[in-house]
Amino acid sequence: MTPAESGGPAPRDSWPLFEVFIRGKRGLNHVHVGSLHAPDAEMALHNARDLYTRRNEGVSIWVVDAAAITASSPEEKDPFFAPSGDKVYRHPTFYSIPDDVPHL
């Protein structure tokens, strides 16, 4: 499977690629911040700390072997996303309610 960010072939015989996700502070999701190479997940975690949190940018780090990520194809107009494209009734703005009805 193609890694989420990598377009090209797998690197030659170098260390595997890890994608790095950081929780900026309590209450937030982990967010993808970049990637790095490391011989194993534990080293990846240490390297991610040194590389991506030198200024208190995070309270928690995930590293994920890039090869383990399954990605949809990248184009936004992809048929993959079509099921949600025509369902405008999933949005609150679909419903017209008179202005004088409160709290709605």
Binding site: E5, S6, G7, G8, R12, E75
Partner: protein
Amino acid sequence: MSAAPEELEQAFDATVAADQRVEPRDWMPEAYRRTLIRQIAQHAHSEIIGMQPEGNWILRAPSLRRKAILLAKVQDEAGHGMYLYAAAETLGVDRAELTEKLIESKQKYSSIFNYPALSWADIGVIGWLVDGAAVCNQVPLCRCSFGPYARAMIRICKEESFHQRQGYELLMAMMRGTDAQRAMVQDATDRWWWPSLMMFGPPDGDSPNTQQSMQWRIKRHTNDELRQRFVDMTAPQAEALGVTLPDPQLRWNPERGAHDYGEPDWEELKQVISGAGPCNQQRIAHRRAAHESGAWVREAATAYAAKQARRATEGAAA
């Protein structure tokens, strides 16, 4: 799913024209990919080689405070190199391959790092002028059309403002010191000013790739536009500091609303780019030595990871 080549090209052009970001798995013209790989690799190499002139002064910093600051700055530059190699890798190249190309002098890095840092004042001037020029170059790259490069630049720019400020503050401290210290600051300014202007590359008339890069929205401004911006930013900073920029033609032009300034020595820039700068050989030799003497660490880490993985599978099987 397969689209005709013209359709792919049109989709790419539309994405760029709409100021959207191109992402790694999107179709892109081969020349766009090649241009980006060359530029991002060159940029990454500059961050890595750029550690050398300053790293050399960490052990000679005059106080623990300055040592801690300089160490943090040099660590940041290593980080910048890593962000950028990672961005280059999304285009299908391998970091190890890029490192090899650097130490075989098959890829370039910024000409500025081929000048020596001769005194402690150089450390301040590098932060002020060299990081200052880098910021000028890099801020527009935060809106570069290639997503991973733009995102790396956003991280980098956030960190660069500390670099510039610590340099300027260091110089302010020296300017409050003795005559000898003030003379050191002036001397370092004299030596770094012109090379800093050259960091923006050759003049527009001599920069054949600019047009295409601007069309692709990799670049947002020409070399001369960025150079002018840098001069306009820096002139009042020099005045506030109390140093003279070594350019007799430098003066405010009220009609243009900008500073007029003299022509850098483009012959010198060509020389330094082609390998004949004061420190080119030393920089590459040092990078090569660091790579080679670190080989055993990389090998040991690989062997350890393999052993752990083997134990884990044996443990699971037992």
